[in-house]
Amino acid sequence: MSAQLAFASIGELAGMLRGGEISASSLVQCYADRISTLNATSKAFISLDIERARAKAETLAIDSTDSLLKGIPYACKDLFDVKGMVTSGGSRVLADNVAQHDADVISRMDQAGAIFIGKNNLHEFAYGATGENALHGTAPNPYDQSRLAGGSSSGSAAAVGYGLCAAALGTDTGGSVRAPAALCGLVGFKPTFGRISTEGVIPYSWSLDHVGTLTRNAADTALLFNTLASNVQTPAATKLEALRIGIPEGFFFERADTEILDSIDGLMSFLSAAGAKLIPVTMPSMEHSRTVSLTVQMPEALSYHNRYLEQRGDLYSQDFRAGLALGQCLLAEQYIRAKRFIESYRRDMDRVFNGIDILLTPATPAIAPKTGTVEVTIDGQAEPVGNAITRYTSFFNMTGHPAITLPCGMHSEGLPITAQLVGRHYGDEQLIAAATLIESSYGFKLPLPVIN
């Protein structure tokens, strides 16, 4: 399979399928061959369903009126139910958990004609941003295999990043789609909270979980969103000159790699020169946002996993058990207070969006860390690696605003640099349209990873 095909976008593949240059069956076989060669390296997939994919591909007749997803092979994080397959959460705890039904999003992809090929590796039960998994191994970054792909949707990012499928589904509770997408040079998207169904997806934290997508470009994100969400509106036509882009002061531009800040500056300069209005905005205080998020996450995670602890508690990894134990020791009023802070953040952010269309930030303060890194030090200040990876993403899981990450530069160490755009509640369509416009106008082309 040529690298050109392996790294083609959904839009490009759809054109080839319609033009008869390739068939769905040959596309499935191409990815299957590539997976058999590269999965041991990428650790992207923990289960495969190639036979069913082949069977579906053989029945497809594609014409110009079909969804552009028809015949497109995709994968999902192993938190999503796919009928007849194990949904393990990347854990020994659910090694025998065979799904009786498809998750809502899997049904929607199936109805659109997309071809499911397998399930992706992850940080156990989505607990952690490094993607480290003792059972299945840690997915490495396609641009540097000594570094992390990031997590918790680590295998989903690796699957797309290594050219093993055209797109993947993940979940994002604090940045678990956007952060690995950013570190691997992909487009990661999470919708407005609740806009894409989480039915049939193993929860981590109900108040913060979002189903999201990992793709090669923003146009592909639109194709997936149109299939996965309900009541999708056609976004109003927009031009760069009409965009009002909020630039947050402080937090999002502090303690970050200088090359990342330079790349974001470069993007801002381009947008300003193209006529977009860059408007400084004052964000709510982020000082306690990680505390608020953790205080909601851990009791919710414990509440779900309590059903398995008595019988299978010894099968959990030590770090996840420690997190669950912490969740046991927080007070109910502390949990409620944290959720009141979240409501306060949402109200403050709605005021921020009164004068802007989208917000622009870096996606991460650092490039992909080396595998095994415990702390990331920037400007002389050390920070746990998981906190650093999600520092700029987790706030928007609490506020529930849609957010998308776009590659915008290449670091001198050979790793992608990525921006994050955030939209209004229920402004998913406009956000993706703006991202598509910025992506095509800016014209940044990330080099393909060199994969041995």
Partner: protein, 67 residues
Amino acid sequence: MKRLQQQTLLGIRDQFGSYAWDDAEISELVDPQLGIITGFQELLDQLELLRKVDLGSIPPAADISDK
């Protein structure tokens, strides 16, 4: 606020209908040695600061409506 003591968490475990965490896990929360949970005391200190913030009548966050 006084510093967290292991006996407090053992009491929660034994008297509050909690899952039966190992003594070592409870100990790790109070006096981290393995680096698995490094910040529970810090989290409690932060929560104490949040407790002193007057949130007025703001309710807990719920679903987000399409306005």
